[in-house]
């Protein structure tokens, strides 16, 4: 089985993402919560981080030699908030791979835990708005 630990430190393109007010409104509405035109729901951190990272789910699958049929699942998700997300605001994002750990468990078998982090800053602001850390689980089988 290939080892993917060398991907630690890999830098994603990053870039900017402007959070559309209509999308912020629909996100809250789809979650059966009260939409607010002035403040986006903090749950949107995942979307802002992923879009701003300049990387698609398929890009990450390619990096890890996985496909849509590989049984990839979410592992852990952490957001450290330093401010609130605002509809219409533009966010500058930097993203990189934190680590890739090979693990095994009785039920899960062998898998790689792929962890990447996105630092999100509102354009023009001095400090970060949030830091989003995601871990995805890539199941592995002998011979991969």
């Amino acid at each position: 089985m290939s080892d993917y630990a060398h991907l630690a430190g890999h830098r994603f393109p990053g870039g900017t993402y402007t959070l559309p007010p209509w999308l912020s409104w629909l996100w809250a509405d789809a979650a059966k919560l009260e939409p607010d035109w002035a403040v986006a729901h903090q749950g949107l951190a995942y979307l802002v981080a992923l879009r701003g990272a300049g990387v698609s789910i398929q890009d990450i699958f390619d990096l890890m030699d996985a496909t849509a049929d590989s049984g990839v699942v979410f592992g852990e998700f952490q957001v450290d908030y330093h401010g609130v997300l605002r509809p219409g605001a533009t966010y500058e994002c930097e993203a990189d791979v934190v680590e890739v750990e090979r693990k095994s468990g009785k039920r899960a078998g062998v898998f790689d835990k792929f962890t990447f982090q996105v630092k999100v800053r509102e354009a023009g602001a001095e400090g970060l708005t949030l830091v989003c850390t995601n871990s995805w689980i890539f199941p592995r089988v002998e011979g991969e």
Binding site: L23, L26, W27, D29, A30, A31, K32, L33, V39, H41, Q42, G43, L44, Y46, L47, A68, V73, F74, G75, E76, F77, Q78, V79, D80, Y81, G83, V84
Partner: protein, 136 residues
């Protein structure tokens, strides 16, 4: 500077979605640009042996747990950290319930730590921890 009264062992007011609605999953699939049909086509979950109900998106479940925490905290600006583990799928029609407990209070720092989680029709769906501000 006012500090909110929060005690270790205090239970958070439950947050409940009585029946997860399959219709908004279609909107969320479009927003997320997530092409996986398990979120909008029951035939696909059936074909995968997952039953005949669609699967709610993980980001929606995260949004509910985040909402649960920030309601207790007193607003979105009081949320410091949320860390979530994904433990199981949430299906349309499920009863989704968030519960939580205060596990630590740091009066000097003006923060409190919470243990939080969510079940879906009684099955574990999410587990995690959060840190909130308790000082204005």
């Amino acid at each position: 500077m006012a500090t909110r009264e929060v005690q270790v062992g205090q239970q958070l007011a439950p947050f409940v979605i009585e029946s997860v609605d399959p219709e908004p999953m279609k909107t969320m699939a479009a927003i997320l640009q997530d092409p996986n049909p398990i979120h909008f086509d029951p035939a696909s979950t059936q074909a995968l042996g997952m039953g005949d109900k669609t699967v709610n998106q993980g980001p929606t479940n995260v949004t509910w747990l985040t909402e649960f925490v920030q309601r207790f905290a007193g607003g979105p600006d009081r949320l410091v950290t949320i860390k979530i583990r994904f433990l199981g799928n949430v299906f349309s029609g499920d009863r989704f319930e968030c519960t939580g407990t205060v596990t630590a209070v740091h009066a000097e720092a003006g923060t409190a730590e919470l243990e939080v989680g969510a079940t879906s029709d009684g099955r574990p769906a999410l587990g995690g921890t959060a840190v909130i501000k308790i000082r204005d």
